[in-house]
């Protein structure tokens, strides 16, 4: 009996040990299996990323506003179809992307608002940037109000709140129309984004016309916030006076009225005493990129559109909820003659062939 119990104990102990051993082995096995699965996963990932790995890309700068995105899309389409180049778009604020453009991390800007970048002319002169051509130079910027503020809109039941508002200086009489919600004693002018050169000029303009006595000039903080303010006010049918520029989808979608100003004179402009001239919107690129891609650069230097064409494309995007790339295709079909102006005939045919597909 005793022996038996001893035996059983031994057996139990041995079995336990055996189990433990087995468990350890099993764990090891599981670990090994897991390792193998991981390895397979990593390998699969590497292979699939290897499939999509790309060679030298052309990197377009995107500063966020839609006209630039549209021009990027057009140039990207042509780069891909006519020149068989890979393209990529990198987004960021003006100062960040501009720095990257000079360094060469970004290769080109399709729409450079030259007057809004203080360093631009210096950088072009010193050869840190190369100006390839003018994209368009018939744009407008200034202070806008929704048209219904002046003329009313019977269909939406909006009374004209400022019927005699025509010039910037007329704003004096209407501070109660454009009340500042944060300071009821004054009106509010939604200003330009700080850091753009036009901001200084707008501030001077407000002072010059004595509007600072009646209005607070507000820094909207970002262009998204500025467009949101205009869009919000317009949808609600409220009065608003804001700095803005054309062409944009905002000015395409909403019926805005530019307040008139004294005719442009170069000596007065910087002091804010007259209307803003059209800004030269240039195509500019990093010097190294220009050296490396002579053929494509040839096309870029011929790239030229107009404010009207751009706003038509932006309208198309807004009305059809289209992607920029789709708008670029639509644009090249609609304005087919541009291809002949921009490209050598064989390349133009390549693009046309691709568009037909």
């Amino acid at each position: 009996m005793l022996i038996r119990i001893k035996h059983i104990t031994i057996i139990v102990v041995v079995m336990q040990k055996y189990r433990l051993l087995k468990k350890a082995k099993r764990d090891e096995c599981i670990m090994k299996k897991r390792g193998l699965i991981m390895l397979i996963c990593v390998a699969a990932l590497l292979i699939s990323s290897g499939c999509t790995q790309q060679s030298e890309k052309i990197i377009f700068g995107d500063v966020g506003w839609d006209s630039m995105k549209f021009h990027n899309a057009v140039a990207m389409y042509i780069a891909e179809t006519a020149y068989d180049l890979e393209t990529e778009e990198i987004s960021g604020s003006t100062p960040v992307t501009y720095g990257a453009l000079k360094k060469g991390d970004i290769h080109l800007y399709m729409e450079t608002w030259t007057d809004n970048i203080p360093a631009y002319s210096g950088d072009v002169q010193s050869g840190e940037l190369i100006e390839l051509g003018v994209n368009y130079d018939d744009n407008i910027q200034g202070l806008y109000v929704p048209r219904y503020v002046v003329e009313g809109d019977p269909s939406r039941g909006i009374e004209p709140l400022a019927p005699d508002l025509k010039m910037v200086e007329d704003l004096k009489n209407y501070k109660d129309v454009f009340t500042d919600p944060e300071d009821a004693s004054k009106g509010r002018i939604y200003g330009s984004i700080s850091g753009w050169e036009i901001d200084e000029i707008m501030r001077k303009k407000v002072e010059y016309y004595g509007l600072d006595e009646f209005y607070n000039y507000i820094d909207p903080g970002s262009d998204a916030a500025l467009s949101a303010s205009i869009a919000g006010a317009y949808e609600k049918g409220e009065p608003i006076v804001a700095y803005y520029w054309e062409p944009t989808w905002i000015t395409g979608k909403y019926d805005l009225l530019l307040l008139e100003d004294a005719p442009y004179e170069e000596s007065l402009y910087r002091q804010g005493k007259c209307e803003c001239p059209s800004v030269r919107l240039t195509v500019c690129a990093n010097p190294q990129f220009v050296k490396d891609n002579p053929e494509f650069v040839e096309f870029l230097s011929k790239y030229s559109t107009s404010s009207e064409l751009t706003s038509k494309a932006l309208m198309y995007i807004n009305e059809n909820n289209a992607e920029y790339a789709d708008a670029a295709k639509w644009f090249l079909v609609e304005y087919d003659n541009l291809l002949d102006e921009w490209l050598p005939s064989d390349k133009a045919e390549l693009v046309r062939g691709e568009l037909l597909k």
């Binding site: 850091g195 998204a224 916030a225 949101a228």
Partner: protein, 285 residues
Amino acid sequence: MHKLLTVFPEDIYIDIKAPIDKFINFMLQNWSPFFEAVSKSLQLFLNAIGSAVNAIPWWLLIIAVFFASYKVSKKISTSILYSALLFFIGVIGLFDMMYATLAIIIASVIISLLIGLPSGIVMSASKKISIFAVPVLDTMQTMPSFVYLIPAVMLLGLGNVPAVIATTIYALPPVIRLTSHGIRQVDVEVVEAAKAFGSTKMQILFKVQIPQALPTIMAGVNQTIMMAISMVVTCSMIGATGLGSEVIKGINRLESGRGFAAGIAIVIVAIILDRLTQGVFKKNE
């Protein structure tokens, strides 16, 4: 086959963008009186806080910080350091900016606490509610703020009001989480004892659980304040005034000095507020 492995199948596509846009437009066109009322009342609240903050002269604020930090740290050197740091903000010419920023931070923190403390208590009481609340809180903390800031600007206008709302959304979760966590952590036996003595539920909550949970709740309050400070710059992208807008200007004009000056001032404000509130909660321990 190869394509199916590398590219997500395009056929399975649900458009959630258009309905969201539609909803926002609907709110714009139909609910604007409601949002206007919200905006106006928030504006009044903000103005009240702003004028209360502005009524404090600079020297009084420095003296107050001196005494407050002495009270929590009991070290004269610490209180000299904190008041000197505050004085330094004035020296670099940002005292007024700091006041504007403080007004926004204080307003958001007050709103966060008014909403957060009761919600935390409710959440601690019911598991079901907390199952729903936790993902909501996670969303509030991780949703990129600009996503809801832009509709907020459309609905409420530009400036300090949407800034306070955005800050509140971001700063609210820690105080809710830690209030609920703190109350749950209270020893079951202590609660049982209180029950045995015939305490009502309310008595247990206010006389046993909350006092016991106070250190954790205060840590939540402290976190909420820190979160509010971290939103300062983001809020300035929708027109909030103060130190944040200095930072934005510095960045936009590539004036690193200007950016750093305002950034340092924000850090100082954060450090002082953090140490003072932490001191309070340590004292409670």
